[in-house]
Symmetry: C2
C-alpha cells in the first residue's frame, strides 16, 4: 500500500449475498486489500438465493459505514444486484476495474448458479462490461475457515485483472473446504446438470395455520463427468466456470423453426 | 371441455410474477382452459424482477382461493420460483404436463431474462424436467389489451404440449402490443445483447434521509441484427427464444485453460 498516487490504483468493487458482517466478505476484503482501492457495497443482512432479483417495489437506502485509506464500505437494504447497480450508477468514484462477489458461505456450483445472489452480482457486473468474479466456499458454517479460499481469491482476482474477461462473461469460482495442501489444482470446467430435490418442512404456527420452509437436497445428474464443476469439487479441485449472460439454447433453434406456430 | 374423464386431461401449471389479480394471468387462465385442467399457484401480489429468487429467510404460506371443475387456484406469499417449487412438491395432484408463466405485463426480451420473475418460474419448470414457457406482452399497462397475446399463448402452448421440449430448455415468448392482423409472424431467435442504462431517482423522505428508486432505460447493443428478439419485436414479430439453464460460456473454456491460476 505504498503507492503515493491512489488515483492510479485499480478500483475493486466488492459485494456479496450473505451481508456485510459475514466472515466471507470480510475475508475477501482482507485478502484483496493489496490489489487496489476497495469499494464495498454490500447488503445490510443476508440475501441468499436472491439470484438477479432487483428491488422495484420499495425504495433503496444506502449508508456509508467506513472510509479509510484504500477501503470504503457502504451497506444497502437491497439485493446483491441492487448493490452493484447502485455502486456503478451512484456511489463509485469511477467505473471499477473489476467486481468481486463473495466469498459465499456455501457452494454455488451446477444449477445453484441460477439462484445465487453471489453470482447475480457477478452477472450484473459483466452485463455492464466489467470483469466480474463470484467466489464461493463449499462450507455453509458462518465460522468456516476461509484461508484456502482467500489465497485463491487473491490469485484468481489478480490474474483476472491482468487478463480481463470478454464482455458478458464472468467467472463462477467454487473452492472446496480443504486446507491449501489438500487442493488438487484448478479445474476450468462447465456447469454440471443437476437440480434440487425439494423438500419443504411443513409446520403450523401458534394459531394453527400451516407454513413451509424451503429445504432440499442437491441431485447431480452427471456424477461421473470429469468436465463438470461438481466432479471437480468432489475431487478436491477448485472449479472455475466461465458463465455467460446469453441464455439462448442455440442448439435448439433449428428444431423450433420446424414447428408451425402461426394462428389458423 | 366435454371430456368425461378429467383424469385423462393434461395438467397445466400456471404462475406469473405480477400476482394473481393481474389481467395477464387472468387472460392466460381463460385462454388455456380448453387445453386441460389448470392448476394455478401465483404470488399474492406483484413480484416483478424477482428473477429465480427463492424465499429462504421467511416461511412460505399458501391459500387455496378457487376450486372449480378444471380450475384450481392457490396464492402464495413467495416468489414465482417458490410458487413452482411449492406446486411441484406440495400442491399439485401429479407432475404437470406443462408449466406456463405469465402473461407478463411488459417485455422480457434480451437481458431482461436474467431479472424476470416470469422467466424465473419457467426456468424452475424446465430444471424439473417439465416443458415450460414464459409469455410476456410488450405493454406495461395493467389494463393492456391481451387479445393477441391470448391467441398466441393458446397456440404456442398447444404446440409445445404436442412437441415437448428438451430437458433444461424452456421458451421465452414475447408478444408485440399489436392487434392480431398487424403481427408479422413468428421469429425463432436469440437473446439480443443489451443492458439497462440505470438511472436511479434520488429522493428525500420526510425526515431528510435519502433513498433511491430503480428506473432506467434499455439499451439494445445490436440494433440491426435480425437474428435477435429485440429486432423481431421492433418489427412486429412474436419472438420465441429457446432458453437453457446451462450458463457455461463454452467458447471461453480454452482461453481460461491457458491461464496459470495456481498458487506460487
Amino acid at each position: 500500500m505504498s503507492d503515493s498516487n491512489p488515483i492510479s490504483k485499480p478500483l475493486i468493487l466488492i459485494t456479496n449475498d450473505d451481508g456485510i458482517i459475514a466472515k466471507g466478505i470480510q475475508s475477501l476484503i482482507s485478502c484483496l486489500l493489496p490489489l487496489g482501492n476497495l469499494f464495498v457495497v454490500a447488503p445490510d443482512g443476508p440475501r441468499s438465493a436472491q439470484s438477479s432479483a432487483l428491488t422495484v417495489t420499495t425504495p433503496l437506502r444506502v449508508k456509508k459505514i467506513k472510509e479509510e485509506d484504500g477501503l470504503t464500505e457502504y451497506i444497502c437494504n437491497g439485493t446483491p444486484a441492487d448493490c452493484v447497480k447502485l455502486a456503478l450508477n451512484q456511489l463509485c468514484p469511477r467505473k471499477p476495474d473489476i467486481i468481486v462477489s463473495g466469498i459465499n458461505h456455501g457452494m454455488n456450483s451446477s444449477i445453484s448458479i441460477i439462484y445465487s445472489g453471489t453470482m447475480g452480482a457477478a452477472l450484473e457486473g459483466c452485463v455492464n462490461g466489467i470483469p466480474s468474479i463470484g467466489f464461493s466456499l463449499c462450507n455453509y458454517d458462518p465460522r468456516a475457515n476461509f484461508d484456502t479460499a482467500m489465497a485463491y481469491a487473491y490469485k484468481i482476482t489478480k490474474k483476472t485483472m491482468a487478463t480481463g474477461l470478454p464482455r458478458t462473461i464472468c467467472l463462477n469460482v467454487n473452492i472446496p473446504d480443504l486446507p491449501e495442501d489438500k487442493i488438487q489444482g484448478i479445474s476450468i470446467c462447465r456447469q454440471s446438470e443437476g437440480y434440487w430435490a425439494e423438500e419443504f418442512v411443513q409446520r403450523k404456527d401458534p394459531s394453527g395455520k400451516r407454513y413451509y420452509w424451503l429445504t432440499g437436497q442437491f441431485i447431480n445428474a452427471e456424477k461421473q463427468n470429469s468436465e463438470t464443476d461438481e466432479w471437480a469439487l468432489e475431487n478436491g479441485f477448485i472449479s472455475i466456470v466461465p458463465v455467460k449472460v446469453d441464455m439462448t439454447a442455440y442448439e435448439h433453434l433449428d428444431e423450433l423453426k420446424k414447428i408451425d406456430y402461426e394462428l389458423e
